[in-house]
Assembly symmetry: C2
Homo-oligomer: 225 residues x 2
């Protein structure tokens, strides 16, 4: 698909060099839109839509905000800048704990990559068992970018069990039961991203999926000889 | 072993009915001591000794202290009290988030059980590869309570790999690499407790070890058919 690509105003004080742009097809009528494929989910499942945007474009830092914990969410592409550039946006990396810096830097990703992740996650959400059906226009958009959608095909990236759309609404002890997950936690790319059960994503930790499977195979070999 | 069992003063404002007592053998010379078997580790590896005491007797609550997160550490046996009793000690359970209450209540344990866990963990620490050798008096005490110690026998409770004593000193991103772990996370008893790699303990989550092994066997069957 050829995108419109006109710049879209960003309010982020951390992103003075604005990269954000319109992802509607070139020559579209009406307003520009960075996430046109989320128009329907934003209405029928707004929390899922905002989760997709958040997980696609924001880092996670500390679970709370403080001087040495650093910003708890920041645009992933801002984290590609040098410490010197970041200082000019008011982010002083040298004041953060090393583990916070490592976590933030690990989550860095190009704008284009983040946007490709957002489309991919949207397609995967629509393919979860029990997901709402996308309007024809959105199905066509997603199909053109991702290939044809296959209903009920989305499984947990880690445990490969079907992942029902209804799980998005469930939370235990305040934590959502579905998380965005990465086959390789250091790569925020569409090939590498999916949804997973919270427990699965936590168990995988910072291992790649291959490393995780090899690790649990070793555990089973020792624990159940 | 028959213990001295004379009461030991506790400074906890949460434990007005003091249960704490001396665990030296009855008729011992000198001062009473609640953790006599930690006298050596307290000198050669003070952080390990204090970790054993902390994990044996304290709950973990929120990772930081706040009004609705509740106390972040509290004596496990205090959490056996009713909400009404706790209110008289200044702990208002009804003001805490339900998930915090659940976490605190799940960690509740009898004083005797906590003390038995502390001895067990001390024995396991001395049996880690590379652990300091206990003085004869302490080895005798631990042997009498736990049975003979077998050097280098301590493995991770979850993955069954040897757990080197040196791992106690290692931390990644501010988190210690060795955690106290439970075969059944709802039971704080010596039979049920051990040390585990942090990643292993996290992966196990709130599953029992049996549930965890069954779960990862299912994952492997689906992911590597």
């Amino acid at each position: 698909m050829e995108y419109c690509a006109k710049p879209i105003a960003s309010r982020s004080k951390y992103s003075p060099a604005n990269l954000r742009c319109c992802f509607r097809p070139v020559g579209h009528p009406g307003k520009c839109d960075e996430f046109p494929y989320l128009a329907h989910l934003s209405k029928v499942a707004p929390k899922v839509a905002s989760k997709i945007v958040r997980d696609a474009i924001m880092t996670t830092g500390a679970s709370w905000k403080s001087a040495d914990a650093g910003p708890n969410r920041i645009l992933r592409w801002v984290m590609l800048h040098t410490d010197e550039q970041l200082a000019t946006y008011g982010i002083n990396m040298s004041k953060l704990k090393p583990q916070v810096v490592a976590k933030l830097r690990e989550k860095a990703a190009e704008y284009g990559s983040c946007m490709a992740v957002a489309v991919k996650l949207t397609g995967m959400a629509y393919c979860m068992p029990g997901a709402p059906e996308p309007p024809a226009e959105i199905a066509a958009y997603l199909g053109e970018v991702l290939g044809p959608l296959s209903a009920d095909s989305t499984v947990c990236l880690v445990c490969r069990e079907p992942l029902p759309f209804a799980l998005f609404a469930e939370a235990r002890r305040g934590k959502a039961e579905v998380e965005t997950s990465h086959s390789n936690p250091r790569l925020h790319t569409p090939e590498n991203v999916g949804f997973a059960h919270r427990a699965c994503n936590i168990a995988q930790g910072n291992k790649t999926l291959d490393e995780f499977y090899a690790w649990i195979a070793g555990i089973l070999a020792r624990a159940r000889p």
